[in-house]
């Protein structure tokens, strides 16, 4: 299924104020892969996600989803196969009930209301919050909001899920639940996060970004233990891999 491939070729992007945020990135993500994108604040992660989703367009280079270039013309098609979960669910849940929110995407693609309902129910069931369908967003807990935001993307039946900090601001139990949920999906996943333990658990492959360039791209279990690389990029080894602070047992 080559059309699930996400390819980035020599991507360049500068903001109107001249700041060069992305300087020549290239990579290819294949069907079914789980890829973590990590980097210090301001390394260019968010800009990269915006470029992938076609919210921004590159100055140079291109983004391809399957064999389709991301351009203004192909956006509706691209956005059906790419689903993005925002960092702050309050930005993504802009309707007044969970149901209407999850139905927003399918309705925009002018599906008939029966199909919309089917998709909404499916998506809500997948994330396990069907019972919350008539709730107002302000009535949801942090974890429930996150689940609702994910459902609002799933109802579009995307092939690739792109997530910006899916575990940010969640309590440990909710974080665990979201991680289990994401692991259960068969979609191709691209996750950016500072939660390196989560990346370590969920992603087989990791791309490290530094100053708008790719500093490393490879197997997660090799990259995240590379103390020198991590330090150089403003990161550190995941806590679960660091030496035990109580007994001092070395893990790496």
């Amino acid at each position: 299924m080559s059309h699930h491939k996400l390819e980035v070729k020599d991507l360049h992007y500068s903001y109107p104020d001249g700041h060069k945020a992305v300087k020549g990135m290239s990579f290819c993500i294949h069907h079914g892969e789980s890829v973590g994108i990590i980097g210090a604040n301001g390394a260019g992660k968010s800009t990269l996600l915006m470029l992938l989703m076609g919210v921004l367009f590159p100055d140079q280079g291109e983004v391809c989803v399957g064999d389709v270039h991301v351009t203004k013309k192909t956006l509706p098609m691209i956005r059906q196969s790419l689903g993005m979960v925002f960092q702050d669910p309050d930005d993504q849940l802009f309707m007044n009930t969970v149901y209407d929110d999850v139905a927003f995407g399918p309705r925009n693609y002018k599906l008939d209301e029966k199909e919309v309902e089917k998709r909404v129910f499916n998506a809500l069931e997948l994330v396990g919050i069907l019972h919350l369908k008539d709730r107002a967003p302000f009535k949801l807990s942090g974890g429930e909001k996150r689940a609702a935001a994910i459902a609002s993307v799933l109802s579009m039946q995307p092939d690739i899920l792109i997530m910006d900090e899916p575990t940010a601001a969640l309590d440990p139990k909710s974080r665990r639940k979201v991680m289990q949920l994401l692991t259960s999906f068969k979609h191709t996943k691209v996750i950016t996060s500072h939660d390196l333990d989560m990346i370590f658990e969920m992603c087989d492959r990791t791309i490290v970004i530094k100053n708008g360039e790719i500093a490393a791209d490879g197997v997660t279990s090799e990259i995240l233990v590379n103390a020198e690389l991590m330090d150089d990029c403003g990161l550190e080894i995941p806590l679960s891999l660091q030496n035990c602070p109580v007994c001092g047992t070395e893990k790496v």
Binding site: R79, Q80, L82, G83, D91, N96, D100, R107, N108
Partner: protein, 269 residues
């Protein structure tokens, strides 16, 4: 600030109430909206000296209240807090209208009659509006507005405003808390911080709007707002509306208390 926070709780309360499932809640939102508008029109169409004729119209809120199983206290509290403007304007009537009027053998200034009439009307109209939202909810009301062909842009914008009131209130509350913690003896925001405090909040609001816009676009938004299908208007919904309008019309045309009174006093004599 506490006051505004109360408003927020009040809003959430109404939102909760609107999610009940009683006979009234299940009625078609459009019919409830039209009934409310007819009611309001009839109430305010009464002359400024009218009190008696307005009384039968109490039946509408009483019935809706009970059938919809709404808690009387919090809503009544809201009504008692009617805009001070009304009382402020109304209370001046007795000062400007000294015409004396005999009521049951007692002299009463006509100004008090008009004041009472205004108070009564204000109570009835405020109740009717609150009952509408407490039995319908913003989302279903938005559907009714769409059925009335109110443009999508406006309906969507209305929904967005409603949605983000609580988010932004929390944001403003956080900022104010941070300010007051470092400005212990100030009652409000000092002039030197007016621009930067409110200005930064606005800039953050602009950024949020940008993110929301992106979230909408990523899910296929192109400037059109698609609601789901409309709820069907059943015969029962229609008869609810027609029944009330009929009652309102009768109450408007005939002074029912006067009729009852005439009959009773007539019989007694």
């Amino acid at each position: 600030m506490a006051n505004i926070m109360n408003s927020l709780y009040n809003m959430r309360l109404l939102d909760d109430l609107a999610r009940q499932e009683t006979v009234i809640h299940k009625l078609h939102p459009l019919m409830k909206l039209l009934t409310t508008v007819s009611y309001l029109t009839v109430v305010v169409s009464f002359g400024r000296y009218e009190i008696g004729g307005l009384l039968p119209l109490l039946l509408y809120p009483v019935i809706v209240f009970t059938l919809a199983e709404l808690p009387v206290k919090p809503i009544l509290l809201r009504i008692l807090l009617v805009s001070p403007f009304i009382i402020g304007i109304g209370i001046l009537n007795p000062f400007f209208d000294h015409q004396v009027y005999l009521l049951g053998g007692r002299e009463i200034s006509r100004g008090w009659i008009t004041f009472l009439s205004i108070l009564l009307k204000s109570g009835l109209t405020v109740t009717a509006a609150l009952l509408l939202i407490a039995t319908t909810g913003m989302d279903r009301l938005a559907g009714a507005l769409r059925m009335l062909k109110i443009p999508r842009i406006f309906v969507l914008q209305l929904l967005l405003t409603y949605r983000y009131i609580s988010v932004l209130m929390e944001e403003v509350a956080r900022t104010l808390r941070a300010y007051s913690l470092r400005a212990p003896r100030q009652k409000g925001v000092h002039r030197s911080a007016w621009g930067s405090l409110a200005g930064q909040l606005i800039l953050r609001t602009f950024d949020r709007a940008q993110r929301i816009y992106e979230a909408m676009c990523l899910r296929g938004f192109t400037g059109e707002y698609h609601t789901g299908g409309f709820k069907e208007i059943r015969v029962w919904d229609l008869s609810y509306f027609i029944g009330w309008v009929f009652f309102f019309a009768v109450a408007r045309m005939y002074n029912i208390p006067m009729l009852i009174g005439s009959l009773i006093t007539g019989v007694i004599r």
